[in-house]
Amino acid sequence: MKVAVIGSGITGLSTAHNLAKQGVEVVIFEKKTYLYGASGRNSGGITTMMDRKELIELAKRSIKIYDDIQGEFSFNFLFRKDGYLKVADGFDMGRLEKECRLQRSMGVKVREIDPFEIREIVPGFNPESVDGGFIGEGGVIFPWPVIWGYVEGCRKLGVEIMRNSEVKGFEVENGELKGVKVKDETIKVDFVINASGAWSVLISKLAGVELRNRIIKEEICVIESLKPFIDPYILNISTGVYISQSARGEVVGGVVGREATEPDTSSTLDFLIGYAKGAAEMIPLLKGLSVLRQWAGVYDASPDGLPVVGETELKGFVQANGLGRRGMSLAPAIGEIVAKIVLKGKEYDEFSPSRFQFPERTTEN
């Protein structure tokens, strides 16, 4: 059996790794290069504090995989589990309380924390800026070594990774996928895994398959490196502003993304202004510090907030996308699921691409 994976982000790589472990011949096609997509541009927040049962399960499994795989690859992802802190103002506290009940029922360790207690954990935190919060499992991972580690692990298992290789189309016979057109050749494969993140809709279109994911653009910036003082990853769900401190000491932060019409990675001044206001409101100590760089990334989100994983009406064409902004927290487990779908024909109704052919389910996100 031969499988082509489109995209060398965390989803594509973990899928390739799981398949190759079972002896499958895998080739990854990457339009650009490693880290070009969302896997190289995100802020590395990892948590099990999700708002859906399915997501919590995936996140728990992913953290377990991260723990094991760093030893297996002998690669340190600089995963620092100093907690994940969600804060909100009064209006949104109810939402946090509700998801916290769900998390607890599934064995996730979460506790409520009042704004003044947050200041004891994060020096300089402005208790006036929020009404409350919850702190739970998770922390910060450095996404780059995650990708480098997976690339190395995949290569050791014989996975071929082709960079600068844009998929131009597919060869289809009688409603069955037969091959992938890359550059000037067609490569015969049995399955294609669409793990191309923000480009998933475009790739689906090439295959003639409908995918209703939205493209989301999110911007981030970092300030000059400081001695460690922010331990947890902090996300304000009311303003969308998030802040954490990297292993180098740079304060990394951004604002939760907005829908875009195309995968566009240009930076904006409005983001910088908005983020600076939001971040300084939350941690006033950040005022006056120099921004080192800013950038933007794109990801895709499914209509109901759950990943889209499963074989489509086109036999052999498998979706593995729609992870939203939680890719780093979910993707290692998604890789295992895709492998089961391909190798054992297992079906996961909750993630199935066909679920959108029925009237849309509403989502809390």
Partner: protein
């Protein structure tokens, strides 16, 4: 260490004030940068480096390297070569304990590579998990350069949105010329510079210029800066923003910070980038030691702030900058031990070299610097002979006594803004590195973004001024200003620039320019139209 007498420059020092370095009072004068005031007080180690805790000091003096980051009034990571002293200012060293001069962690410099070489934080101590978690935690404790502020910055920030015809980034010869010529046609111009004065690097050029009389030959650089900035001052439609750092171009919007407090959002119809260049450094052992400086950094220290860089220097590179600098050092009463040049011949103009020779400074051609000697600062240098294959000749090492080393091996364009704006760039060695593709009027592949001066290719102030005029005029013409007269003037400067480059030294530049110049019309024809044109036999 401050110069009091100089044959050409008269140093007008401001009021004497006191700043505090790690709590100790230091005398300074208003108008000086923090870096130059500390340097004048004999302080050469400003901070320690991120990983090895090696001493960090002065290098470029123009805000383009990150060697001089310190804590200023509680705010960490400030480039002190771009901050001007204020009475009572508190300056602190970073990433060191107890201070940068005698940092306990400097021991890391000799041991870190043996036990924890580069990449170890990914590769080492991965099994078992407990060990990995422990190491990951410990490594983090060593991270970070500045200290997080203890209390929030109190100054109130403000915001201004400006709409203008032309925004000019950089107030050097290129930028000022662009602003002047555009403004003369009636266009509204915003001219931004990170210094509290205009002139760019002209302010340290105490020598007379070559070239044609029409373009200020025979005048000293410092004088040209004065003439141009006076012209700028006289034009009412130029809005000059001093101490303003442009940090990004966002689709026709220029993002900048004025005096570290005010955010500027400038909507401009055309943008002229004239950000100049920065100094290259050279690979040799200890090249990061305080005392190893960029040639321009030394010029800034000496010619702008009137501060002696040291007692005896070694100059690396015999191009015009190295030769002129040598002469300027001697002029200020500072000894130059030697000039080393890797090429078998002297790089700069004969007149400059002859002047230096007459002063008795030896020029070692086919020699390079092997290492800087010293613990916390330069105490000497070792040079070595090179054979015809550029390999070191064993046994030819020679120690030069000096207390500072100037690296004068050329400049690289400050191209970051262009890159960020999406201009198509090309690596052209003749022009000093990565430069933008441009039309003969200086317009890049991004419509409305122009370049002028060293950022478009390393040349000299004379051509920068001409490029500036062309860019400023063309931008104004495209906006409907100036009429026939402006077009005539623009084309005249284009001809003058061509003529200037046709001189004996322009050959290399011209071959570089050829590689990056495109015809705008040819580019703007879209592919299908072009096919049609070809099929109709037009092309």
């Amino acid at each position: 260490m401050r110069l009091t007498e100089h044959p050409i420059v008269k140093f007008k020092r401001g009021k004497e004030i006191t700043i505090y370095f790690n709590g100790e009072p230091v005398k300074a004068y208003e108008g000086e940068t923090v870096a130059s005031a500390l340097y004048a007080a004999g302080i050469t180690t400003f901070s320690r480096s991120f990983r090895f805790h090696r001493p960090r000091g002065f290098f470029c003096a123009i805000g383009k390297c990150s060697s001089c980051m310190m804590e200023v009034d509680g705010i960490p990571n400030i480039r002190i070569c771009k901050v001007y002293v204020r009475d009572g200012m508190k300056i602190k060293t970073q990433n060191s304990f107890p201070n940068a001069d005698s940092d306990f962690l400097s021991i890391l410099d000799s041991i870190v590579d043996r036990f924890y070489p580069h990449g170890s934080h990914y590769r080492k101590f991965n099994k078992p998990k407990v060990l990995r978690d422990f190491v990951t935690k410990q490594v983090r404790r060593f991270a970070g350069t500045g200290n997080p502020p203890k209390k929030a910055f109190e100054e109130k920030g403000s915001f201004e949105e400006i709409e203008t015809d032309i925004a000019v980034v950089g107030g050097g010869p290129g930028g000022m010329s662009a602003a002047i010529y555009a403004a003369r046609t009636g266009a509204r111009v915003v001219l931004m510079d990170e210094n509290p004065f205009l002139g760019g690097q002209l302010v340290k050029q105490t020598h007379r210029f070559f070239g044609s009389g029409k373009h200020r030959a025979g005048t000293r650089g410092i004088r040209i800066a004065e003439i141009l900035s006076n012209e700028v001052g006289e034009l009412k439609n130029i809005d000059v923003r001093f101490e303003t750092k442009v940090f990004g171009l966002y689709n026709g919007v220029v993002g900048a910070v004025e005096k570290d407090k005010k955010l500027l959002k400038i909507k401009a119809k055309k943008i002229v980038i004239a950000t100049g260049a920065y100094e290259r450094t050279l690979l040799f052992e200890n090249n990061d030691l305080p005392g190893v400086y960029g040639a321009g950094g030394v010029q800034t220290l000496m010619n702008v702030f009137g501060i002696k860089p040291g007692d005896k220097g070694l100059i690396v590179g015999s191009g015009n900058v190295g030769l002129i600098l040598t002469y300027q050092l001697m002029q200020a009463g500072i000894d130059v031990a030697a000039i080393v040049e890797a090429m078998p011949r002297i790089g700069g103009y004969f007149v400059h070299a002859a002047k230096v020779r007459r002063l008795g400074v030896p020029i070692y051609t086919s020699h390079t610097i092997k290492r800087a000697i010293g613990d916390k600062k330069v105490e000497g240098a070792e040079i070595v002979k090179l054979d015809e294959n550029w390999c070191e000749v064993k046994g030819s090492e020679k120690r030069i006594d000096c207390d500072f080393i100037c690296v004068a091996i050329g400049l690289s364009p400050t191209h970051e803004l262009l890159y960020q704006a999406g201009c198509e760039m090309k690596f052209v060695p003749e022009l000093g590195g990565l430069v933008p593709m441009r039309t003969e009027y200086g317009e890049t592949t991004v419509e409305g973004i122009y370049v002028a001066g060293d950022v478009a290719g390393i040349e000299e102030a004379t051509s920068a001024m001409m490029e500036g005029r062309i860019a400023g005029l063309d931008a104004a013409i495209k906006l409907g200003y100036g009429g026939e007269e402006a077009i005539r003037l623009r084309d005249e400067v284009v001809r003058d620039l061509k003529e200037f480059r046709e001189g004996p030294f322009g050959e290399r530049i011209l071959s570089g320019i050829k590689k990056v110049t495109f015809e705008k019309e040819a580019i703007s024809v879209s592919a299908p139209e072009r096919e049609e044109a070809i099929s109709e036999g037009i092309e």
